[in-house]
Amino acid sequence: MQIEEKKPLIAAFCCNWCSYAGADLAGNNRLNYPDNVKIIRVPCSCRVDPTFILRAFQRGADGVLICGCHPGDCHYTTGNYYTRRRMTLLFSMLEYLGIEKERTRVEWVSAAEGAKFAQTVNEFTAAVSALGENRRLEDLRCKE
Amino acid sequence: MKDKNELIKEQILYQSGVNVRKCMRCGKCSGTCPGYDEMEYHPHQFVYLVETGDIEPLLKSESLYKCLSCFACVDRCPRGVEPAKIIEAVRLTVIRQQGKNKLTPDDIPAVIDDDIPQQALVSAYRKFTR
């Protein structure tokens, strides 16, 4: 029997106004992307607390993707600027902890960019798959 | 099995790096071409015939060597198709198929015109040799 390779688990945070709509558009256009990406809807990318990302890694996610409106196009004017700054800091800290920077990514996807969303997910999944499973932050106590 | 024409087409597209499908048939390339009257096939026809795969007549045409490689068509094409690169790739296909240069060094003094700018001579080396 062949041992099935574990597919990487990726959590994606998408802002309601641009990226979630972009992901919907990818669906409307029937663009395929890997099914191991699960989207969590947030009102704005600035709602993504660094602890959400830490929690995801702790619970066994192999990669975390954050998508928001393009800088300057935020529905709330400035939300994605906060995201950009926060995530720059967080990602460098994660890298220090040993979480490769390829496991985290911020991407600006507008509501019109279904193709970009699918492409981003494809690239990101490939990058995370190449790194293999994430064990560094995984909290083994919560595994069933 | 692909036929010979298709292989040539693929090779031309690969060498030139041009996406012929972007052409919207506006004819600006031919409108701008300074060598138009000398040519049997014109820049827009090169693009179109390569797209349809009807390359045989192009390979036989003298137009290949009439193209000045001035790149006016490349500069002005609104869609960024770059017809001159297609012509160059077709030319290269012919020269490679023949296996020899279009002109030998001995032929050159006879065709040199004093008015030809230096740059044209340099580009001639590219055009007429392997």
Partner: protein, 664 residues
Amino acid sequence: MQRIGVFICHCGSNIAATVDTSAVVNALSAEPGVVCAVDYPYMCSASGQDMIKEAIKEKELTGIVICSCSPRMHEATFRKAAAAAGLNPYMVEIANIREQCSWVHKDKQTATEKAIVLGRAAIAKVSLNTPLQPGEIPVTKRALVIGGGIAGIQTALDIADAGFEVDIVEKKPTIGGKMAQLDKTFPTLDCAACILTPKMVEASQNEKIRIYSYSKVEEVSGFVGNFTVKIRKKARFVDENKCTGCGLCTEKCPVKNVPNEFNLGMDSRHAVYIPFAQAVPKVAVIDADYCRMLKDGKCGLCSKICGAGAIKYDQEDEIIENKYGAIVAATGCEPIDLDKFDEFAYSKSKDVITSLQFERLMNAAGPTGGVLLRPSDNKHPKTIVFVQCVGSRCEAHAKKGKEYCSKICCMYTAKHAMLTREKYPDTDVYVFYIDVRTPGKNFDEFYRRVAEEYGVHYIKGMVGKICAENGTLKVQASDLLADKQLHIDADLVVLAAAIEPDRSTRPLATMLTASMDTNDFFTEAHPKLRPVESPTAGIFLSGCCQGPKDIPETVAQAGAAASKVIGLLCKDRLTANPCVAHCDEMSCNGCSTCENVCPYHAVTYIEKEFRMPDRTTKIRRVAQVNPAVCQGCGACTVACPSKAMDLYGFSGKQIYAEVDAICR
């Protein structure tokens, strides 16, 4: 403990073809808190909704999860259904298993697994939902229209017609916009001024409409129903109330060589001027860049000559602050710069002009009094070449021109060709086209008449280059159908330049927080179903600022935008989004971080008295959120160092639960 109902939609075969819905039912019914799980072909149908309502009542559900299409599609539908059954509408969560699952995955097994995970996440979230009550916001019953072209005028007239007050802000000294510069309008050839100027007058005389000309929007704050807008009324150095528009000053002013922008620089005007005869408001304006009195303090002739005493050299910009319930963007378009198209010799020869310049040349009020004379030597052109698609339909990487079709050029070029041949039958007219696009009512008939009856030479092919030589324009072009290269000696060349959004549009969009596309056109809330609304509530779109349009389309869209505005202003109160931030006062340490990050200034700090455990009282500084102003972005929730801020509907706990469910 919550009692949760899960409803899985097949969406016909849209979901059921790739997701095994019965497997989803089985898996999700085992989740904690789930008391019923069912699937149905169309949950959004009336019978599907009835099923949900019955289940809510029968099973006494406290929360429901719908596994269906995107929440952007039917969240409102299901919330309404829940409310009808007596369940708080905010106890509804949607798991998007269509757009983000069945439509993007092909393998049934993995798609089903993913649908189950998405369902679990939604169940985990809904278990932590709290019932929310939407607040109410009063509506200011006044609208603002930005831009006074035909789009803005029509929108304002229609809103005023319904009995609401409306202000127009126009950056130029007069309303009228681009249409005022046109000669005739296709396909009926009505004179543009004859149909536009009565509307301009109507707008100025309507008591519900206020026109701020020579003004611009400086700052916008607030939200739907309650916008506060600062308008900068630029100093025109003429008292608007005193000026009678007699025009005496404009004749006597000694500065005569100012390029006249209304005629696109083809003639000149004085430093004090009225843009055109039918300007509204018909009030003079002094151009501060040229006026000798304002520059050097020497002259003052206009002040001496003005019988009404309207000239005020010391006038300053005025900032006016008004409140509005709705804002309509009607900023219009302008032709692109042709600097990068030097193959057409536009900057080298005066006889290569744009179509808008041609309009002025043909216009009876234009620089030549309506006689077609070419700008360089004022001679009648005998051969005219029209070039279409200049800067339209260009590839994005070419970095010159626009990718889109400007839509109006085919028709106005046909009109120009017809008018030329009608007035001057001895003129040879060539039109070079890539495609002729005339899909409008009576448009193709018009174009065919131009080609058939007026003998205009329509040539398929593009002009490659134009050289100006000894007063003639050597046009080199290709005729693709005859497979010839043409060399035409033309006297006048008219370029149908692409149109782009007015340059004021981008800064305005930032102020309005309305989104734009890559070409700087405003994006509509839905490309098909909500074409006149911006995704930002309370902002509406009218005319070319949303995309290229001809006059009939602009007027139709202006009316549509007006009807949307009227629909909004008719309401006394709006229901506010209850998914807003709130502060846990016991955890708040009064640091002001949230106040600083809030883009809406929704957070303020108050001093509040607290009872301490030892029965003493203490006054502490805590944050307070104004739920009517808060838009629910969540910036403050993340910024808060003590995690006192949280967001209703997207609370930290809920998102942790979702993350946990996904990563299980």
